[in-house]
Amino acid sequence: MEHKHDAKKEAPVTYAEVNDTILKMLEPPGTGWYLLLFTCLFFLAIGASSWFYQMWSGFGESGKSHPIGWGTYITNFVFWVGIAHSGTLISAVLYLFRAAFRQPIYRLAEAMTVFAVMTAGLFPIIHLGRPWYALWLMPYPNQRALWPNFRSPLLWDVFAVSTYFTISATFFFVGLIPDIAAARDRATTKFRKILYGVTSLGWRNSHVQWKHYTAAYLIFAAFATPLVVSVHSVVSWDFAMSIVPGWHATIFPPYFVAGAIFSGVAMVITLIIPLRKAFDLQRLITPFHFDAMSKLILMTSGVVTYSYITEFYTAWFSNNVFERYQFWFRPFGEFWLPFWGMTFCNCIFPQLLWVKSLRTNIPFLFVLSIFINIGMWLERFNIIFQSLTREFIPAAWGGYNFSWIEVGITVGAFGWFGMWMTLFIKFFPSVAIVEIKEILPPPVRKETDHHHAAVGAGH
């Protein structure tokens, strides 16, 4: 491949360089970082105040109405869960498949997963009419002797999302331990020494630790892989298990999982491009990685497009008056704009990636990834909003009342997510040290047939 020629001219990446490059990211932040953090906190404050206002004044401050019980909050929930998925995909599924492009991007993707799930997890609570009773969704023993309804897809959500958060956070943290240990060993300030000393749990890189660690890591990956499939399937069942025309479809689980990966990879690109630029990671994150991610996007875009077509076909073939109306309504009805916006962003625009040079064109990818994120948000919005606005009984058809509260909370979610990401990149290694080292040729006195490295220096 082309990039290998370029790489060959450069000196091979060494263990020391990996440590140096990555740990350099943890050096005291500049104005830009503070500005970013402040922006995120500002957005978060908007979101938090919007939410409190909504609780204080009544849920009616959001735009929901009688036919449309769910709206932007659930859209955001599905969107953020979807974002979360590519992280686990990259860290776990590609780990099992030993994909060569995984290592330099997986940490960031995983961080994104954890923080996106943290963001997503807020929305089911925000969207509750009485959020202070959210605890009732948990099967905790109580004096009322009441349990939740295990037949409800929303309860499955509770199980799936909480499991997903726990497992992906654990996986994320376990992966971080040796890297934190590396940071600890170089830490200079007292704060960082204590921070890393505590969070590295006294990790010492001993051969016994590595033995159990690698064994466990594989098992984690093996657990996370079915989990990632199940979680978005469960999220899709929130819709597919209902009888709403436009929701009640068997294709939803694979469709949602593919969509999740699609949006997640796009979000990884959105995040990694500025990061790579800001921290000079060009030698670790190379065009090879972008090319691989572009192909992943192209493939998932294909799956998503296929799913859209299938939905329409199923509606037509079912000869069901309600389904048919719904799928006529989406492209040609009152709210055609979100539909065609989604189609452009998710189906048409990504097709440009068939052009090879665009796959490694960083500015193009950045723009594309943002479009895809918008498109995927619109996809969820279409599914939720368009289906609910035209259900079975024409007398009960109705519209939506967009409100600034919803916009505020949506913005706040980005602030919340951004805040964690911003803090994370300055306090913890956001590129995996150990795993990159793992794929480098180890320093040996006697040259034997060692593993090929995919990072930086190639062979």
Binding site: M55, P67, G129, R130, V158, V321, F392, P394
Partner: protein
Amino acid sequence: MEGEIVQLNANRKSADKEGLVQISRRRFLQGLGATTALGAAACANPVEQNILPNVKGVAEEIPGVAVWYSSTCTECSAGCGIRVRTREGRAVKVEGNPNSPVNKGGLCALGQASLQSLYNPDRIRQPLKKTRTTPTGPIFEPTTWDEVYGKLQEALTNATNRKVLLTGELPSGYQDLAAAFTSQLGFSQVVWDPMQQVAVAKAAELVYGTYGVPTFAIDKAQVVVNFGADFLETWLNPVGYARQWADGRRAEKPLRFVHIEPRLSLTGANADLWLKPNLGSDVRIALFLIGQMIERGRTKGISDDTRNKLSQLTKGVTATEVEAQTGVSKEKLLLVAQYLAEAKASLVLAGGASTATADPLPLLVLTNLLNAMLGNVGKTVDIVVVDKPATSATQVAALIDDMQSGKVDVLITAGTNPQFSFPDAFGFQYAVNKVGIKGDGTGKKAGIVVALASQMDETAQLADYILPLHTSLEDWGYVAQPGGNVSLMQPSMRQIFDTKSLGDVLLTVAANAGKQIGGDSTTFDAFVKARYLAITAGKSTQDGETFWRASLEKGGYFASSAGVSAGTPSINPAVYAMSYGISVKPAHHGDLLLYPYPSVKAFDGRAANRPWMQELADPITQAVWGAWAEMHPDTAKDLGIAMGDSVIVRTADGEVHVPAYVTEFVHKGIIAMPVGQGHSAYGRFANSIDQGGSVYSLLPKKIATGADTLAFTGSPVTVVRGLGSGDLVRVQEFNSQEGRELARTTFITGAGAHAHGEEHGEGYGEGHHEPKQMYTQREHPLYQWGMAVDLAACTGCSACVVACSAENNIPVVGKKVVAQGREMSWLRIERYFDSVETEDGGEELKVSFMPMMCQHCQNAPCEPVCPVYATYHNEEGMNAMVYNRCVGTRYCSNNCSYKVRRFNWFQYEWPDLLSWQVNPDVPVRTVGIMEKCSFCVQRIGEAKDIAKDLGRLVEDGDVTPACVQTCPTQALTFGDLKDPNSRVSKLAKNERAYKVLDHHLNTQPSVSYLSDIRYKA
């Protein structure tokens, strides 16, 4: 106290335009408190609750057990019997009294809302005196009864000119006293009630020989041809006539109903055939029908002489000519003639907006003649038992003239609001201000204007003194009805404020003047008792006291319904001349004409300050809160107006600003507007939506020719596009069923074939076969509650909607919140306009009304999706909703295929006093939870409780949910589906029965719908 009154006036202008949404901060804090220990500790010790015992025991009252009082509804002059449910001394619900022959247990929306006249927050709480008038309105201050009595006595003594008692159509109890009052104190009584069918009474005099509105037996007719009488809405006795109509529709051979009116009214929507003539040209149709009847030899009911004269009259009235004049196709005209000619018994009605023209008598006379020649008199028209309205527009106009010229010294108003409902063009306000002004040019006021009213209104605002009256639920009285029945009124609760009965006020004023007008009685309750016993003397073998108590319990004295009395028309020769007169008058073309109509929402305006009535969706337009102007799409297009735009409707006499309602179901030449909105001083709810002005201000200073009533209909109007959006709020914005077979219809084909007709919609009848089930069906050990809704009987009158609100503490949310699609009503009347094929291949409008409430599905989609079991299926087949368990995911609502679940988007609160109407048996829901129809589970519980005490099971008829109870036509039936002999089980097995969406979704609803019955045109 003073502050309160000032505030009352201040409210008038700064009324809360956003309706009723008041958000409770306290609730929020409580909820939040549950999440934090500190907050919890702080909130966990709220103010102590007190429990107040009675000082003395009250006979027949057990705390927690409802006591019912029989009474009579005085909202309109129909006089329906009611039963008022009280709890711990407070009236909480009004229901129809099954003993009353007028309404037979049903009650209309307005009657249900009479509770909101009792608990109206804008009630006058003590005597008031006007201190000064400011640009924003008069200022009243509290005063004492004695002061006002004194002033009145003084004025009476000094009065040299006319003394006038201006009233509405008073219930007999008051009227009898008022008659004595006027005669003994030298008063003259003037009566004004715009709902009175004076023209009908007048026309009856001309044709039948007796002044008075005849009584009709709609159920006895096979064909009803109706010229605009809205007898299913507000006309005469809407509850009783709706019941008759429904009985006729449900008969073995359903009655055929033709409605002729330029606008599709609710009544017209229920017709088999709706004809849309040019405004004012319907008289030609009547004439044509007379000609046809003569041609077809159906003239047995009249003398040959009359027939000959009539045939002279109708010479030259051909179908083609009538088609040209009316715009109604001659095929349809001939069809109507054929129906009438072939029917053994028929009924021709005319009334409502069609006879509120400047010249109403010709049409009424012709329809009366039609009835006479068809032999309907004595069969379906009772001209002996008649209602004689005392309303006289002429007298009101004369009074205004007298006042203006200073010829009136004392004016007492009671139970009427002419300042609002008498056209501004007559200048009532200007005239009232001149009452008692000395004609000597000094401007010194010697006279007095006293308003007797329970609530502030436009007329009361003009008075010098206002004396607060009891509302009808606090007062004694009786209503003597045509046919010898007497319906009693008794207080259902103690008076709330410093108010008095109108009767007592009259008695006191008379006593102060040294007159004994009540016979031996010095109080009104004694007067009522004495009069009642006198009227019913000899009708019972019981002794007086026993009979009195039994009557109070029963609701009055009700003779067995005797049927239609025989009577012979005695036709006044003048009618021919009159008919000749109109026969040459050309039908109107060209201009836009005003077409005001009374609606079930506001009547003539009296219901405008009742939040339930404002929030009730108008059955035809589905609009809430405020008025609108209906216009044809072509008209709208010409004027550049779209649905919901603000428009200015202007006549020579005034203009109003209202939103446009564009509908093809009005005639191109008319602008139809509901009357009764646009109040300026009728309380916060009416005023909050007054922006545009009242329709009455558009009316000309014109009294209808020959009839003692006003010319409402037919003023030329101009309509222009106003600024901005018109703030039209509709709860249902989509009119078509989209072929989804929700409200189905059984069509009867052929002339009068039996009801086994072909069905509309292929899925029909699938309710009978049992689809294969994936799961074993739920067993119901004791009961399985279910409902049946007969669409053939449902008129769409919406009484059930208000009854449901009253029973289940459903909050009124206000216009803004309804506009957001957040109305809270558990029960809605879906209204669909669909076009169906006629027999000859044409297209005909089919309007369907469909009450839609929770279907209590056996395979309910809402239940399995709730994560906390807030909704589940109980052993009695009900879809149970546990409010306090709900966390508010709203998934159930999304998944409800009927969209009958309602979410509490805000914390709604009842303004002071209206909170008294809250039913203590039903919890008031808090913000953030879902609610829905419960089949009135509290009533089921009560019935089970009683049955258990009696040691038996609940029997058919023990449980009656509020909607079922109030339904004027008994379209709704509730009962146990497990019992094969219950009425509801039998109806569920009826050949017309089906379940909505069941064949698509297998939801297995507990509510069966019986398809509508229509004759194929």
